[in-house]
Amino acid sequence: MRSMELARAVHKALQLCAKLKPGENVLVLADSIVDRGLVDAFANAAYALGGETQTMIFETRPEINREPPKAVAAAMGASDLVIDLITQYIIHTDAYLKVRKGGTRILCGTGITEDMVIRLVGAVDYDELLRRGHRLVELFNQAKVCRVETGDGAVLTMTVAGRPQLLRDGLLDGPGDLDYMPGAQLSLAPVEETINGTLEVDGSAYPPVGLVGAPIRVTYEKGRVVKVEGGPAGSLWRDWLGKFEDPKMFCVAHVSIGMNPVGRLTGNILEDERVAGCWVIGHGSQMEYFEGTVGKASSHSDVVAVRPTISLDGKVIVERGQFRI
């Protein structure tokens, strides 16, 4: 237990990220698998900040995205701010969408642990992170072609012009806003048929693998996975995509760049895909706001390369995993 460090980090999450105001109704929500000490830490800090604070616990569901109990949905809708620590996340449920439309802000920390709150929220300089985030948005806004080089000469290219950039900076800006803890990521869906080449995945692939051990090489043609090479992790991942018998599971849904300066590769995708300077490709289900052509699929899986060299129209922005901007 690092209760003091945790208290400080949780205070920061609520004040800086969630923008909790005194008098607001705050609901800290968790399923039964979440450590109660973590739930209490958020509730305690929310109360200290002047929030009218409640916690709600319900039984952990066997799968993600099951509709929550009615009492939970009703309580979320009647709150100003929800701190969502639910492990089997409900982000894509009707209840969640309705609550957001009703104006409730949600800070989602699905899968987050005490250790992650302390390191990835508590120890992060958000001003610095935001500056870099806005600079990245600006650069992608002006760019036409993105090139990613990984491993020993694997090259992947894609057109990014005309597609919106989504900066998940980890901050809740107003009613109905949703963001994630820890932050942060810049994401977009490149023009699908222009995504061609090979990516060497040296970080993780989840679901179903986690840390890959030996790198996986994934080859894309026109935005689809056409070849997966490399060890047991490679075949596990390819077989998992295939088991849905859904061709969309092999489609690129989005690419992302991680921005958390203290994130490190742990095998927990929530952290891995936010490691500063990493390159992520998500496959399968694609959120509407990306304005892509893939749409909803059976599931979703991310792969992470942690030492990419990323360039936009020839200008290097990340060199072997280090930001150059």
């Binding site: 609901l27 009218e52 709600m56 109990p69 009492a71 309580a75 709150s79």
Partner: protein, 322 residues
């Protein structure tokens, strides 16, 4: 602390008193002083195949203070709600709205671990029901009730036109049923303008407990006009003054305990259930046929009363006479 000793009382509450079925949605409202009891009830609901949600809030400061909006909304949305709270939510708009929505509610204000193990919660609820029905029938359709005690109580309450409530018998099995757990009382909202005389509280006072010396409350025209006694009386005066609202002095309830297993513990939810006691409350009664919308509800319990409803003696020095 282990919850093992709470489990049998929790099982009585869930199975016998509320008749929770596996497919029902269940909300357990609690606060930071009552969590183990809520966990025990949740464990029983879960073991029956139910899907409980445990909602925890900060303890309210007074009886009848509303819960936060998220919990009020959650209360309306379920089949069954257990209110495992430090202060009573019985006389709140949140509870009234949930009842109107058909939710079955067990209100358990001030419940302690001890109460789950011994005393009123372990009563034979079939017997509590029999006694409650008898007393309720004796109060129905009356114009007035009078109460006297050896300690000096001489009080008359007007009942004309007021409906006696379904007894708080511990069995809340139909949609919209609600009451306390532990249970056992027959009660009615007297006319807000007709309470006259003296109530000498020798049992206990809500939010205060067992008094250092009996508290003498003088009623005139339905209102408390004078409070005398020792420290308990001073605390009661201060509590009522702090609310700065004339409605808190207005009579709100007349009730009689019907639970033979209940003991004096200084906490209203059990004390007012003791067979052989009666209680008068001031404050909110809109949830059971009254017209006083007050920010609080406070019960005052007297022992061994003699009670007459019109010309019928219901109780003689604490012994049922019907």
């Amino acid at each position: 602390m282990s919850i093992i000793e709470l489990m049998r009382g929790a099982r009585t509450a869930v199975e016998t008193c509320m008749g929770v079925k596996p497919d029902e949605s269940v909300l357990i409202v609690t606060d930071y002083e009552r969590q183990p009891i809520a966990e025990a009830i949740g464990a029983v609901v879960q073991s029956l195949g139910g899907d409980p949600v445990i909602a925890t809030m900060r303890p309210r400061q007074r009886n009848a203070e509303e819960p936060p909006p998220s919990i009020a909304a959650a209360m309306r949305s379920v089949n069954v709600a257990f209110l495992v709270t430090t202060r009573s939510l019985s006389h709140t708009t949140a509870r009234e709205e949930a009842t109107h929505a058909g939710v079955r509610i067990a209100s358990m204000p001030g419940i302690t671990a001890e109460m789950m193990k011994v005393g009123a919660m372990t009563a034979d609820y079939a017997e509590v029901d029999r006694i409650s029905q008898r007393v309720t029938a004796a109060l129905a359709g009356r114009k007035q009730v009078t109460m006297e005690t050896a300690a000096g109580t001489r009080l008359r309450l007007g009942l004309t036109g007021r409906q006696v409530q379904l007894p708080d018998n511990g069995l809340y099995l139909k949609p919209g049923d609600w009451g306390n757990l532990p249970a056992g009382e027959a009660y009615i909202a007297p006319l807000e303008t007709e309470a006259d005389g003296v109530l000498v509280v020798d049992g206990s006072l809500a939010q205060i407990g067992i008094p250092d010396q009996p508290v003498r409350l003088e009623f005139r025209g339905g209102r408390v006009v004078n409070i005398e006694g020792g420290h308990a009386a001073a605390r009661l005066r201060a509590l009522l003054e702090s609310l700065n609202d004339p409605s808190v002095y207005v009579v709100g309830e007349f009730g009689m305990g019907t639970n033979p297993a209940a003991r004096f513990v200084g906490i209203t939810v059990e004390d007012e259930k003791i067979l052989g006691t009666a209680h008068v409350a001031v404050g909110r009664n809109t949830g059971f046929g009254g017209a006083n919308m007050a920010p609080i509800h406070l019960d005052f319990i007297v022992t061994k009363p003699t009670i007459r409803a019109d010309d019928v003696t219901i109780m003689r020095e604490g012994q049922l006479a019907i």
